[in-house]
Amino acid sequence: MSNPLSDLLRSYLAVGLFASLGFILVGLLLFLSWLVRPSRPQAQKYISYESGVDPVGDMWSQSQVRYYIFALLFVMFDVEAVFIFPWATRVELYGVFGLVEMLVFIGILLLGLVYAWRKGVLRWA
């Protein structure tokens, strides 16, 4: 093809335009607001909000590790999606072999979930 743009790039031409329009709008809004808004700096205004009293201690406090473990579990299911999506669009192509393969794959995955579940990771105590 004599076209300088590949098929893939061309289907994103519109997305690119759409995105740039979004950036322009956001930039415009921020700019307009910058033009009209007041600026009267006072030291107290820049203190972190803590319901009206002076903030105590470090602002980046420690949080429970459970949030992190859930994120790790999610990675498991996200990687699985990488295999599931292509297979789901072409089920007939792989027939029974693909189905059995997928059952085994999801079975192992569920085993992982059950393991995490039994370990009490999913309990929010």
């Binding site: 997305v15 406090s61 949080s63 007939e92 999801i106």
Partner: protein, 406 residues
């Protein structure tokens, strides 16, 4: 792929693309303003009050007035904040919200198996901004980026309440994305296509994925989608009673408005995606009419009405359901939605293969359901033992702790 872009890209092509982009963009902005007003009015009706009724007829310009008011407010940057990330986060929230809308088919004649091609300025094209080959995966990708917007906003504020909001957001949005992805996978099983245009085209004549996938994935998608949007009853990220304003506590002026723009834009986009995936998008009966009425007017009316249904649903959720507790939220996601979505996906896949191989379909369904029930039973048994043991252990620990306290 969009027939507009399959030939040479000349100036006219770019003009047509630009035209579509402008229409979709303006439509989305108007829809967002309408959505904010509509939700406030619907909520007011449920709570037996008037709602916005001052700015413009029926208060319809209220959103515009709010936006203007916010732009006149002082923009504060907390001293403890990470300055760069604090400024970046609103953009990361609002731009993906725009971009998801790019793949939604807005109009076009899809009746009787038509593929929704319309003609603009002599060019054949689809009435959607873009139809990339990976189609619906684009939406998943964008919703993943939207997580960053919220998480980074909370983290960069350098304040306690936003930080709590953002760690909540990180686990919540990520958990429900898994269920969301699995329910999309069932739609792909039925249609075999990733492109949103072809997903809609495959649902002509009421062959909606809503029943073709057996309704369950539809409900999974709605629940997971509501959680993904951080809308009530899953709005733990900005739970006012616990976290002041959640992740956007420290934001003010236009940057604060960005988050609200993003939130309502996401609600509109998610409704449009639900309609595209499960309710046949803009397809509907054309009553034998041809020409521009069946190409633009009727499909757009169908699309609008279907989207409105889900916008009302979101407002209804907010007006009627109490907020979930965080442990309930996680339980619903991991212990109910994900196993259910996986099971349903396997069931549909087996039925699909069975139909292809010419097996006895009713028998296959019965066997599958039996296997799924057995699997669910096994799962329950395996979990119950461990939870019992753990509850015992937790009980003894608590007793120890109370003794120490005394």
């Amino acid at each position: 792929m969009d027939p507009l872009l399959s030939g040479n890209v000349d100036l006219m092509t770019v003009v047509v693309v630009l035209l579509k982009v402008l229409v979709a963009f303006a439509g989305l902005l108007v829809a967002v303003m309408g959505m904010v007003w509509f939700e406030r009015k619907a909520l007011a009706d449920m709570e037996n009050r008037f709602g916005p009724n001052r700015a413009g007829p029926f208060g319809i310009l209220q959103t515009l007035a709010d936006g203007m008011k916010l732009s006149f407010k002082e923009d504060l940057l907390p001293e403890k904040a990470d300055r760069f990330v604090f400024r970046l986060a609103p953009l990361l929230a609002v731009i993906p919200a725009f971009l998801t809308f790019a793949i939604v088919p807005l109009a076009g004649n899809f009746s009787n198996g038509n593929d929704g091609v319309v003609e603009i300025l002599g060019h054949k094209t689809f009435m959607q901004v873009a139809d990339p080959q990976m189609g619906i995966l684009w939406m998943l990708a964008m919703s993943s980026i939207a997580v960053y917007g919220i998480v980074l906003a909370g983290w960069s504020s350098g304040s306690k309440y936003p930080l709590l909001g953002s760690v909540r957001a990180s686990a919540q949005m990520v958990s429900y994305e898994a269920a969301l992805g699995l329910s999309i996978a069932t739609v792909l099983l039925i249609g075999g296509m990733l492109s949103t245009n072809q997903i809609v085209a495959g649902q002509y004549g009421l062959r909606w994925n809503l029943w073709m996938t057996g309704i369950v994935p539809f409900f999974i998608f709605i629940i997971a989608g509501t959680a993904e949007l951080n809308r009530p009853p899953f709005d733990l990220v900005e739970a006012e009673q616990e976290l002041v304003g959640g992740f956007h506590t420290e934001y003010s002026s236009m940057r604060f408005a960005m988050f609200f723009l993003a939130e309502f834009m996401n609600a509109v986009t998610m409704s449009a995606i639900i309609v595209t995936l499960f309710l046949g998008g803009p397809s509907g009966p054309t009553f034998g009419i041809t020409g521009w009425i069946s190409d633009y007017v009727l499909p757009f009316i169908y699309f609008f009405l279907k989207v409105l249904l889900f916008l009302y649903m979101f407002a209804f959720f907010r007006g009627t359901l109490p907020r979930f507790r965080y442990d309930q939220l996680m339980d619903l996601g991991w212990k109910f939605l994900i196993p259910l979505a996986l099971g349903w996906f396997l069931l549909l896949a087996t039925v699909r293969v069975a139909a292809d191989q010419g097996w006895n379909l009713p028998l296959t369904v019965v066997v599958c359901l039996a296997v799924l029930a057995a699997g669910a039973g096994l799962l329950r048994a395996a979990i119950r033992n461990s939870e019992h043991a753990e509850a015992m252990a937790a009980g003894s620990v608590a007793k120890d702790a109370s003794e120490v306290d005394v």
